[in-house]
Assembly symmetry: C2
Homo-oligomer: 467 residues x 2
Amino acid sequence: MSFDSSQLLKELRDRLPADTLLTDPEALAAHARDAAPFSTPGVPAAVALPRTAAQVEEVMRTAYTYGIPVVPQGARTGLAGAANAVDGCVVLSTIRMDQIGTVDPVNRLVRCEPGVITKRLNDAAAEHGLAYPPDPASWETCTIGGNIATGAGGICCVKYGVTADYVLGLDVVLPDGRRMRTGRDTAKGVAGYDLTRLFVGSEGTLGVIVGATLALRPARPTPLALLAQFPSLAAAGHAVAAITASGHLPSAVELLDRATSQAVAEYGHALLRPDSAATLIVESDAPDPAPDLAAMKALCEGAGADQVVAASTAEESQKIIEARRMVSPALGAFAAALSGQPTAFIEDVAVPPSELPKFVGTIEDIARCHRLRIFTLGHAGDGNLHPTVLFDESDPDEVHRARTAYDDIMAAGLALGGTTTGEHGIGTLKREWLGRELDPVSLEVHRGIKRLFDPRQLLNPGKVVEA
Amino acid sequence: MSFDSSQLLKELRDRLPADTLLTDPEALAAHARDAAPFSTPGVPAAVALPRTAAQVEEVMRTAYTYGIPVVPQGARTGLAGAANAVDGCVVLSTIRMDQIGTVDPVNRLVRCEPGVITKRLNDAAAEHGLAYPPDPASWETCTIGGNIATGAGGICCVKYGVTADYVLGLDVVLPDGRRMRTGRDTAKGVAGYDLTRLFVGSEGTLGVIVGATLALRPARPTPLALLAQFPSLAAAGHAVAAITASGHLPSAVELLDRATSQAVAEYGHALLRPDSAATLIVESDAPDPAPDLAAMKALCEGAGADQVVAASTAEESQKIIEARRMVSPALGAFAAALSGQPTAFIEDVAVPPSELPKFVGTIEDIARCHRLRIFTLGHAGDGNLHPTVLFDESDPDEVHRARTAYDDIMAAGLALGGTTTGEHGIGTLKREWLGRELDPVSLEVHRGIKRLFDPRQLLNPGKVVEA
């Protein structure tokens, strides 16, 4: 598909401040894609960087008039290709719309623009003794708009819920440039259909988020963490099940499989043994975390952990949490030592937590079968795992095996009653899988909703679902 | 509008078990309406009481073929008219679909059918040390299907969230009889659009819920309550604001205005003084509730409460909570002593909690201005109030004044940044108000969604929005 955008660009130049529209090749290249693997983005015709909702309306209305596709972008940290450009499109980045309204501690909410960095929002809330809990891995660089568009998750979601749970209302610009408001500024409200949640996680395919009202919570108490190492995956799974079934509400339950435990141990974390079949990092931020942690330590030991270290100070906790943070650099170091062009992609399947041991075991089988290195870590408490597949991009056979393993992992997740994406989204990467996860009627309804909001298929075409 | 349903009924009799289709006048009358005031239901042609999802499909498919409207019903405890029959319709009650699946403590979820009574579900969860928190006033008689369809709230929502927050997935039969599944059995999941939440609170206008996967939580610790009486509304408002802003998470924050406090005092509650301007009942179910309650007691006193009683035992708590439970019988006794045909309707406006004192004051002004008795109570912690207007149905002028007051209350709620319905829904009662609450673009999108799911306008016509 190709579009003649010259007339559009002329009009947008007339209507927008000069620095709002970029067409130089560097800018186009810089805004071509997000962080998804296995995807070939298109070349945009222009990058629009509006500062106001009115400017977003202008871009949308004008692009609609000329039939030019628009691809919304935040910080491009997404892992599913939802922010990838299509050829000839206008990339609409909301990164400059970064105002935070007054934090309201009585109503526990804040309004903000989509380009606000998640960490900045949390810092603003913290000044009032409040927190915005969702903590995706990229929280220091990703934007609230992107978090909302992808329905981002994170580590503490096991206790505090995901981005969707904090969005009370949205200002949205529709594909034809009309602006609408969804939701409300009140904690409760059931007037009409829940359009707020329809936009959350719709990956920029139904409208462009230009403002949000977000719920806040009281600041979290300082947590304490434990690190438990297990002789088998099954034992680690039993520990997670025992913690959940006995009514604990830990603020993190992170699992590192054998390969990941080994990589982090070899990277130099003093507490990790390289021969662990599985490692759990469990955190409690209960008002009095020590007894809560002690009880969970006992449950880990009862499930067969052969070593459990429970922190009694914030410093000891930091040391334990560092094992989780070390995963990314440890895998980076591991990859750097390999030959060829080592590349990683991160999977995002969620299964019912009871199926975790079986699922991790299946992933280990898949790795063996396809002669690949797969490092599985993830949010065990809510069954959301991120198997990371390392492969050599210069080796076509290994690339093929990696893609096959990626498919096998999703098929295994679905077979265990899971979903192909717990928190990263469908984007371009998993479109085919969406059709396998949803039943045919649901898929048809998805297409109908896309048609309803975007009848000309101009907003983020090719993502999630095609009408 | 009128429909010839004779052929439909003949077909349904052929296809459904004999006791599944009722057409006797008593059954039709008994299923004509829910508990909404100011509404004139139609006369149904038949009442279908299917036991299985397949029978629901059969009813929907056949009614669709003959162009006969279908009105879904649960326990008919709704307060907005969403379950009211329309002339010549088939009422489809899911009350007999009352199976509860296995409670799963590791994945903290349960599947159930729509006709399950909310209390029964909670009892089933309690056997496994779990709870299904949403507690609408009618929780001992209302159904899960109705709770989901209306997005029901309750008292403990201030801490634990509303029905919507517990619905992971749904089985839904669409107006044309096709069945689809939404959502998932996992805690997290972002595959596709959030159709689950689109059905939650859609009041039976988009599809008929035939099954649900619900999230459960650990059982709540035994709570302790306090009762605080204030010399002014403003003081009570300050107390609510102080409790919220200082980071407490009470499991109930209930407000009784002057008229309600007086009615409950006169009904015989020993703790309530008849001259209180406002009463707050605050409950903590923190693991160690006593210090939490003591801190909130101090905040009430600091805000100007002239009497605060804090329970130190479960029995004392019960006595305090009884004041809240006594509101309904107290108002009943009050009404019974009036002349004429005393009738009550319950409003359901939610405002930002910071606006509570102003809102309650405005309601008192409205009562004076229209010479009416209005008793305001409600969920102060999330700003959701239920002003109850008492009026004499045999007095046309008073009926007129009551309707005007009802409109004035909603206008006041909207003017304070609130919503016209916090938890009861739009139904037939507030359709006009939905158009005032939503912006024109949102209203047009609502119509589009209704058209998408129900192009022939056969499912629960005239409720929420018309396409």
